[in-house]
Protein backbone atom coordinates (compact mmCIF):
# COMPACT_ATOMS: atom_id res chain seq x y z
CA UNK A 1 0.00 0.00 0.00
CA UNK A 2 2.91 2.34 0.72
CA UNK A 3 4.08 2.02 -2.88
CA UNK A 4 0.68 3.24 -4.12
CA UNK A 5 1.27 6.41 -2.08
CA UNK A 6 4.69 6.84 -3.73
CA UNK A 7 3.04 6.42 -7.12
CA UNK A 8 0.38 9.03 -6.32
CA UNK A 9 3.05 11.38 -4.97
CA UNK A 10 5.13 10.97 -8.17
CA UNK A 11 2.05 11.69 -10.30
CA UNK A 12 1.03 14.77 -8.30
CA UNK A 13 4.60 16.12 -8.22
CA UNK A 14 4.90 15.65 -11.98
CA UNK A 15 1.53 17.32 -12.61
CA UNK A 16 2.48 20.29 -10.41
CA UNK A 17 5.88 20.76 -12.08
CA UNK A 18 4.34 20.28 -15.53
CA UNK A 19 1.60 22.82 -14.79
CA UNK A 20 3.81 25.57 -13.34
CA UNK A 21 7.14 25.11 -15.14
CA UNK A 22 6.30 23.02 -18.26
CA UNK A 23 9.85 21.62 -18.52
CA UNK A 24 10.95 19.73 -21.63
CA UNK A 25 12.36 16.32 -20.74
CA UNK A 26 12.73 15.25 -24.37
CA UNK A 27 11.95 11.59 -24.90
CA UNK A 28 12.81 10.49 -21.34
CA UNK A 29 9.20 9.41 -20.83
CA UNK A 30 9.31 7.07 -23.84
CA UNK A 31 12.67 5.69 -22.71
CA UNK A 32 11.26 4.90 -19.27
CA UNK A 33 8.23 3.25 -20.88
CA UNK A 34 10.41 0.99 -23.04
CA UNK A 35 12.60 0.18 -20.04
CA UNK A 36 9.49 -0.78 -18.06
CA UNK A 37 8.12 -2.94 -20.90
CA UNK A 38 11.53 -4.60 -21.20
CA UNK A 39 11.61 -5.40 -17.45
CA UNK A 40 8.02 -6.72 -17.61
CA UNK A 41 9.15 -8.95 -20.50
CA UNK A 42 12.06 -10.34 -18.45
CA UNK A 43 9.68 -10.99 -15.55
CA UNK A 44 7.24 -12.84 -17.86
CA UNK A 45 10.06 -14.85 -19.45
CA UNK A 46 11.40 -15.91 -16.06
CA UNK A 47 8.05 -16.86 -14.53
CA UNK A 48 5.63 -17.99 -17.25
CA UNK A 49 4.99 -21.72 -16.96
CA UNK A 50 2.27 -23.39 -19.02
CA UNK A 51 2.12 -26.22 -16.46
CA UNK A 52 0.58 -23.82 -13.91
CA UNK A 53 -2.32 -23.21 -16.28
CA UNK A 54 -2.90 -26.92 -16.87
CA UNK A 55 -3.31 -27.53 -13.12
CA UNK A 56 -6.54 -25.53 -13.05
CA UNK A 57 -8.01 -26.81 -16.31
CA UNK A 58 -10.47 -24.77 -18.33
CA UNK A 59 -11.31 -22.32 -15.54
CA UNK A 60 -7.72 -21.04 -15.77
CA UNK A 61 -8.65 -19.48 -19.10
CA UNK A 62 -12.42 -18.93 -18.70
CA UNK A 63 -12.13 -16.77 -15.61
CA UNK A 64 -9.57 -14.27 -16.98
CA UNK A 65 -11.36 -14.27 -20.36
CA UNK A 66 -14.59 -13.36 -18.56
CA UNK A 67 -12.78 -10.66 -16.59
CA UNK A 68 -11.31 -9.13 -19.74
CA UNK A 69 -14.50 -9.25 -21.81
CA UNK A 70 -16.60 -7.92 -18.91
CA UNK A 71 -14.12 -5.18 -18.20
CA UNK A 72 -14.13 -4.07 -21.83
CA UNK A 73 -17.95 -4.11 -21.91
CA UNK A 74 -17.95 -1.95 -18.79
CA UNK A 75 -15.41 0.33 -20.45
CA UNK A 76 -17.63 0.72 -23.51
CA UNK A 77 -20.59 1.67 -21.31
CA UNK A 78 -18.41 4.14 -19.38
CA UNK A 79 -17.15 5.67 -22.64
CA UNK A 80 -20.73 6.08 -23.90
CA UNK A 81 -21.85 7.63 -20.60
CA UNK A 82 -18.93 10.07 -20.51
CA UNK A 83 -18.97 10.87 -24.23
CA UNK A 84 -15.46 9.50 -24.79
CA UNK A 85 -14.22 7.89 -28.02
CA UNK A 86 -14.88 4.13 -27.74
CA UNK A 87 -11.25 3.33 -28.59
CA UNK A 88 -10.08 5.14 -25.41
CA UNK A 89 -12.81 3.40 -23.41
CA UNK A 90 -11.72 -0.01 -24.64
CA UNK A 91 -8.04 0.72 -24.01
CA UNK A 92 -8.62 2.08 -20.49
CA UNK A 93 -10.77 -0.90 -19.51
CA UNK A 94 -8.53 -3.53 -21.14
CA UNK A 95 -5.87 -2.59 -18.58
CA UNK A 96 -7.86 -4.58 -15.98
CA UNK A 97 -6.31 -2.72 -13.04
CA UNK A 98 -2.74 -2.66 -14.38
CA UNK A 99 -2.37 1.10 -14.00
CA UNK A 100 1.40 1.24 -14.43
CA UNK A 101 1.14 -0.18 -17.94
CA UNK A 102 -2.20 1.18 -19.13
CA UNK A 103 -1.65 4.85 -18.29
CA UNK A 104 1.79 5.23 -19.88
CA UNK A 105 0.84 3.23 -23.01
CA UNK A 106 -2.25 5.36 -23.66
CA UNK A 107 -0.31 8.55 -22.84
CA UNK A 108 1.81 7.90 -25.92
CA UNK A 109 -1.30 8.83 -27.90
CA UNK A 110 -3.04 11.25 -25.49
CA UNK A 111 -1.71 12.54 -22.13
CA UNK A 112 -5.24 13.23 -20.85
CA UNK A 113 -6.57 9.74 -21.60
CA UNK A 114 -3.28 8.33 -20.36
CA UNK A 115 -3.94 10.00 -17.02
CA UNK A 116 -7.52 8.72 -17.08
CA UNK A 117 -6.28 5.19 -17.86
CA UNK A 118 -3.81 5.45 -15.01
CA UNK A 119 -6.26 6.76 -12.41
CA UNK A 120 -9.14 4.46 -13.46
CA UNK A 121 -7.01 1.36 -13.10
CA UNK A 122 -5.46 2.59 -9.85
CA UNK A 123 -8.99 3.19 -8.53
CA UNK A 124 -9.92 -0.35 -9.58
CA UNK A 125 -7.04 -1.72 -7.53
CA UNK A 126 -8.02 0.35 -4.50
CA UNK A 127 -11.70 -0.69 -4.84
CA UNK A 128 -10.60 -4.33 -5.03
CA UNK A 129 -8.83 -4.02 -1.68
CA UNK A 130 -11.89 -2.35 -0.17
CA UNK A 131 -14.63 -4.52 -1.74
CA UNK A 132 -13.20 -8.06 -1.94
CA UNK A 133 -13.72 -8.94 1.75
CA UNK A 134 -17.48 -8.25 1.61
CA UNK A 135 -18.05 -9.32 -2.00
CA UNK A 136 -16.42 -12.73 -1.44
CA UNK A 137 -19.12 -13.47 1.18
CA UNK A 138 -22.01 -12.57 -1.14
CA UNK A 139 -20.92 -14.31 -4.36
CA UNK A 140 -18.59 -17.30 -4.89
CA UNK A 141 -15.12 -16.21 -3.72
CA UNK A 142 -13.48 -17.39 -6.97
CA UNK A 143 -15.91 -15.28 -9.03
CA UNK A 144 -15.18 -12.27 -6.81
CA UNK A 145 -11.52 -12.64 -7.83
CA UNK A 146 -12.45 -11.03 -11.16
CA UNK A 147 -12.80 -7.57 -9.60
CA UNK A 148 -9.02 -7.44 -9.17
CA UNK A 149 -8.21 -7.98 -12.86
CA UNK A 150 -4.49 -8.34 -13.50
CA UNK A 151 -3.59 -7.29 -9.95
CA UNK A 152 -4.67 -10.62 -8.47
CA UNK A 153 -1.26 -12.18 -9.04
CA UNK A 154 0.57 -9.60 -6.93
CA UNK A 155 -0.80 -6.53 -5.16
CA UNK A 156 -4.27 -7.86 -4.27
CA UNK A 157 -3.27 -11.53 -3.88
CA UNK A 158 -2.78 -11.18 -0.13
CA UNK A 159 -6.29 -9.83 0.48
CA UNK A 160 -7.79 -12.61 -1.67
CA UNK A 161 -5.83 -15.27 0.19
CA UNK A 162 -6.89 -13.85 3.55
CA UNK A 163 -10.60 -13.61 2.76
CA UNK A 164 -11.02 -16.27 0.06
CA UNK A 165 -8.78 -19.03 1.38
CA UNK A 166 -5.78 -20.93 0.03
CA UNK A 167 -7.70 -22.53 -2.87
CA UNK A 168 -8.82 -19.12 -4.08
CA UNK A 169 -5.21 -17.92 -3.81
CA UNK A 170 -4.14 -20.35 -6.55
CA UNK A 171 -7.07 -19.31 -8.76
CA UNK A 172 -6.34 -15.63 -8.14
CA UNK A 173 -2.67 -16.03 -8.96
CA UNK A 174 -3.30 -17.85 -12.24
CA UNK A 175 -6.11 -15.40 -13.11
CA UNK A 176 -3.76 -12.43 -12.71
CA UNK A 177 -0.94 -14.33 -14.38
CA UNK A 178 -2.94 -15.00 -17.57
CA UNK A 179 -4.13 -11.39 -17.77
CA UNK A 180 -0.60 -10.12 -17.15
CA UNK A 181 0.61 -12.20 -20.09
CA UNK A 182 -2.20 -11.05 -22.41
CA UNK A 183 -2.61 -7.32 -21.67
CA UNK A 184 0.82 -6.10 -22.92
CA UNK A 185 -0.06 -7.57 -26.33
CA UNK A 186 -3.73 -6.59 -26.37
CA UNK A 187 -3.40 -2.92 -25.38
CA UNK A 188 -1.16 -1.83 -28.29
CA UNK A 189 -3.52 -3.63 -30.67
CA UNK A 190 -6.51 -1.69 -29.32
CA UNK A 191 -4.59 1.59 -29.44
CA UNK A 192 -3.65 0.87 -33.03
CA UNK A 193 -7.31 0.54 -34.10
Amino acid sequence: MRFVLYVLAALLLGMTIGHFYAPDFGNLYELMLYALIFIIGIDLGMNFRASELRKLGKSALFLPAGTLVGSMLGGLVAALLLGINLRWGLAISAGCGWYSLTGPLIAQYSPVYGALGFLSNLTRELLTVLLYPSLSRRIPAEVAVTIGGATTMDTTLAIMTKFGGREVAVIAFVHGFVLTAVIPFLLPLILGL
Binding site: Y34, I39, G66, I92, S100, S120, T123, V143
Partner: protein, 81 residues
Amino acid sequence: MNIFIPLLVGILIGYLFRTRDMRVDLDVPMSAVLLLMIFFLGVKVGKVSVSTGWLLGSSIVFAVLTIIGSVGVALFLGVRR
Protein backbone atom coordinates in the same frame (compact mmCIF):
# COMPACT_ATOMS: atom_id res chain seq x y z
CA MET B 1 9.61 2.09 -31.52
CA ASN B 2 7.07 -0.68 -31.46
CA ILE B 3 6.16 -1.71 -27.92
CA PHE B 4 6.41 -5.40 -28.86
CA ILE B 5 10.16 -5.21 -29.51
CA PRO B 6 11.32 -4.52 -25.90
CA LEU B 7 8.59 -6.87 -24.65
CA LEU B 8 9.68 -9.81 -26.82
CA VAL B 9 13.40 -9.15 -26.22
CA GLY B 10 12.66 -9.06 -22.48
CA ILE B 11 10.70 -12.33 -22.61
CA LEU B 12 13.57 -13.98 -24.49
CA ILE B 13 16.18 -12.75 -21.98
CA GLY B 14 13.93 -13.80 -19.07
CA TYR B 15 13.55 -17.24 -20.62
CA LEU B 16 17.34 -17.51 -21.02
CA PHE B 17 17.76 -16.56 -17.35
CA ARG B 18 15.29 -19.28 -16.40
CA THR B 19 16.90 -21.99 -18.49
CA ARG B 20 20.29 -21.11 -16.93
CA ASP B 21 18.80 -21.10 -13.41
CA MET B 22 19.69 -17.43 -12.95
CA ARG B 23 17.35 -15.50 -10.65
CA VAL B 24 17.29 -11.74 -11.08
CA ASP B 25 15.50 -9.52 -8.58
CA LEU B 26 13.51 -7.05 -10.69
CA ASP B 27 11.62 -5.34 -7.85
CA VAL B 28 13.98 -2.40 -7.35
CA PRO B 29 14.63 -1.54 -11.04
CA MET B 30 10.93 -1.97 -11.85
CA SER B 31 9.84 0.30 -8.97
CA ALA B 32 12.45 2.95 -9.84
CA VAL B 33 11.58 3.00 -13.55
CA LEU B 34 7.87 3.00 -12.73
CA LEU B 35 8.10 5.98 -10.37
CA LEU B 36 10.20 7.96 -12.86
CA MET B 37 7.78 7.15 -15.65
CA ILE B 38 4.74 8.14 -13.56
CA PHE B 39 6.51 11.42 -12.74
CA PHE B 40 7.10 12.12 -16.45
CA LEU B 41 3.49 11.13 -17.16
CA GLY B 42 2.43 13.70 -14.53
CA VAL B 43 4.57 16.36 -16.21
CA LYS B 44 2.90 15.59 -19.55
CA VAL B 45 -0.58 15.79 -18.00
CA GLY B 46 0.31 18.96 -16.07
CA LYS B 47 1.19 20.75 -19.32
CA VAL B 48 -2.32 20.07 -20.67
CA SER B 49 -5.19 21.94 -19.12
CA VAL B 50 -7.58 19.31 -17.75
CA SER B 51 -10.24 19.46 -15.06
CA THR B 52 -9.16 17.47 -12.00
CA GLY B 53 -12.80 16.91 -11.06
CA TRP B 54 -13.61 15.43 -14.48
CA LEU B 55 -10.52 13.22 -14.27
CA LEU B 56 -11.38 11.88 -10.81
CA GLY B 57 -15.11 11.46 -11.56
CA SER B 58 -14.43 9.67 -14.85
CA SER B 59 -11.86 7.42 -13.17
CA ILE B 60 -14.43 6.28 -10.63
CA VAL B 61 -17.04 5.67 -13.37
CA PHE B 62 -14.55 3.54 -15.33
CA ALA B 63 -13.35 1.64 -12.26
CA VAL B 64 -16.87 0.82 -11.05
CA LEU B 65 -18.24 -0.16 -14.49
CA THR B 66 -15.23 -2.34 -15.39
CA ILE B 67 -15.59 -4.14 -12.04
CA ILE B 68 -19.34 -4.65 -12.58
CA GLY B 69 -18.64 -5.89 -16.12
CA SER B 70 -16.01 -8.40 -15.01
CA VAL B 71 -18.07 -9.80 -12.14
CA GLY B 72 -21.24 -9.79 -14.27
CA VAL B 73 -19.67 -11.80 -17.10
CA ALA B 74 -18.08 -14.26 -14.65
CA LEU B 75 -21.46 -14.80 -12.94
CA PHE B 76 -23.17 -15.10 -16.33
CA LEU B 77 -20.69 -17.75 -17.44
CA GLY B 78 -21.29 -19.54 -14.13
CA VAL B 79 -17.59 -19.95 -13.44
CA ARG B 80 -17.10 -22.40 -10.62
CA ARG B 81 -14.20 -24.23 -9.12
